[in-house]
Symmetry: C2
């Protein structure tokens, strides 16, 4: 089942210039003008491919090819919004590859047995408002109401916030998405394609370490209660714990602030964040428990105060075993041995998993870069990913 | 030789209210209104004690009791400026105790053999301008010119910046200063008084650690170049090196900034400062060399970039051995066994040491607190310090 790689690249280029920023990358925040232009462009492509299109109450765009047998739909696609200075592929690839795949199937094999749909999900990135997974949460019927700011932006686009509940779907059988990895695992192991086994669970913590601000000259080392020296020992422990637990555990201290932050004053207070991820809820909890325990021990040894609070917690989501197996078979039929891997980033599939079978394919990110203008995947990997997606949809819908 | 402890405390109280801030502490920046009021108050006290007063070209206030033998002067005193939210004793104690001591000596023993002077040094703290040791540097003749901002402030106080060179003195034999420790060494060892052996040398470095900003979810631990994890390992090493070198080595990381400082991004860059102090130049250099070497090794092991630059460097200054011995004898005559200690903070004595013999006495700081409204010393220690200062001046001038 051939696809046209030149058409794939051209469509990605066309989408990337919509919302292009003067200093690099593209930005298509939910319900903004660039977002609206991109949705219109995709709608035109879907219609040109012979799909029947519609927008739901939150602005998700659907293109549908009715199946001869009726029943629940096979859906593919991704999100159309981007982060600031976003790259060419995050979200865009899943939409463009999905429509290219369905277009090829319709052309080569005609009407499918099962209904096939391509979706451009309106928002996933938290690109504009203090929310994310807006589109997939609407599809799963889990949005109660829009806050006033979002509601106003919806009305500007002719969408009625009172109708959000109508976007819910209970007639999706399977959702399959092609996405870039956004990390360097595939590249560093020389693997061209992965089937995602699970999307990690995340816990985000904030740790406050309190000591005593003292004169850097007059306070001997043994009389100090240095909050930053204590925090450094904790950071070291956090890294060691994540490494010793092994993949896919990761722990990141991304933010850190020092008080009073003066060159000649022993730090009296440090606040830092920890982002913990694991594909398995038990693993994530073990990671968190060990980190909490060791940080507390370090604070006691150093006569420091410590307060740890949870900012956010999301459970890991397993991809459906049937879909994983099917994606692996599709890869094999395309002549590729796909590896299995855990996604460290969040995706709409983790939300949709509550209502349908989900599965994802990853292609390598060059240098592991993402959410930046340097985000790229080699043309041969983009083509391969799209071919395997096409084969998967063929196996599911024909 | 008795002094009046109630008078000492009353004068400290009187000075402390000059420049009192609504949210605690006093602030008397160089050449400001509070500073001028404080200088006038001290001048009145000096005159009342029978001393001949004068202001030099930078505004140092001198009170003089001519000696019968002539020759070079014996000088005591301290600085009259304060940091923001400064305490009751830093600087003020040396001035008030010095004038109380000289007043008592003149009253009890009459005209001294050698000329005795009390000085209120105009500035030491860097309290207002990007300079410090302004008063003592003028006394040693090492100020070439005033920058326009300081010159303008001088003119507002009726001082002529063109005359700064006239403040230089080459007729001081010995400078003795009573000061609070500003640390917790004396309190924690239960010692009421110390003779300072040296003022530490300081080096201030800025370290820039550069790694790779990556997605906190999609980048496994082994593929990271985490600048903050590297910096934490360096901080740990810096603390260990200072501890293993032993007293009086201290190393402080007081400032630290993370880029991009986002909860879900592996830090790409960290900039932190190191403040290194030691009483011995060789010791300070050994501390710096070990820290530079270990930080560089850590950066290499972690594939991180590192750049270390020196922000400031000041050599250690030994107190004069004759003065140290005399201060110890004076303490003994007052019934106290003084300990010897290194000053971790800077003082005018380290500047004046270039032109005369210098020595310092320290009394304990409660809780080691200084440069804050909580700065305090018990009345019995204030009295003891003043009595030993009086005895020292008696031994030097009578």
């Amino acid at each position: 089942m051939g696809i046209d790689p030149a058409l794939l690249e051209r469509r990605l280029d066309e989408l990337y210039v919509i919302g292009a920023e003067p200093d690099g990358g593209a930005y298509r925040p939910l319900y903004g003008p660039a977002w609206a232009t991109a949705v219109e462009r995709v709608e035109r492509w879907l219609k040109d491919a012979g799909l029947r299109t519609r927008r739901d109450a939150v602005g998700n765009l659907w293109g549908r090819a009715e199946g001869t047998d009726g029943g629940k739909s096979i859906v593919t696609g991704s999100h159309i919004d981007t982060v600031r200075h976003g790259g060419r592929l995050d979200g865009a690839l899943g939409i463009v590859a999905g429509l290219t795949a369905v277009e090829s199937l319709l052309k080569a094999k005609g009407k499918p047995r099962r209904t096939l749909e391509v979706v451009a999900i309106c928002e996933e990135e938290g690109s504009r408002f203090a929310t994310n997974f807006w589109g997939s949460r609407a599809i799963t019927g889990t949005i109660d109401s829009a806050d006033p700011e979002i509601a106003a932006a919806m009305r500007e686009r002719g969408l009625d916030p009172a109708r959000i509940a109508t976007a819910a779907r209970d007639d999706i059988d399977t959702f399959v998405e092609l996405h870039i990895e956004q990390g360097a695992v595939l590249e560093s192991s020389g693997t061209p394609l992965a089937v995602v086994s699970a999307i990690v669970g995340t816990a985000q913590l904030e740790v406050t370490v309190s000591g005593q601000p003292d004169h850097a000259g007059t306070t001997p080392m043994d009389l100090r209660r240095d909050a930053l020296a204590g925090a450094a020992a904790m950071l070291h422990a956090i890294e060691s714990i994540a490494k010793s637990l092994g993949k896919p555990a990761v722990a990141t201290v991304g933010k850190l602030a020092v008080e009073p932050d003066q060159i000649n004053v022993v730090p009296g207070m440090v606040v830092f964040t920890i982002d913990l991820r694991h594909s398995d809820l038990g693993g994530r909890r073990a990671l968190e428990e060990r980190i909490r325990s060791l940080c507390t021990t370090i604070s006691q040894e150093r006569r420091l105060g410590i307060a740890i609070r949870t900012l956010q917690e999301k459970p890991p989501v397993a991809m459906h075993p049937d879909v994983r197996a099917l994606l692996a078979r599709a890869a094999k039929e395309c002549g590729v041995q796909a590896t299995e891997m855990v996604s460290g980033a969040g995706h709409d599939a983790q939300i949709l998993a509550a209502r349908c079978k989900v599965g994802m394919l990853f292609v390598p990110s060059i240098g592991g870069r993402s959410h930046c203008p340097e985000e790229a995947t080699s043309p041969k990997h983009l083509e391969l990913g799209t071919r395997v997606l096409t084969k998967s949809l063929e196996m599911l819908a024909y």
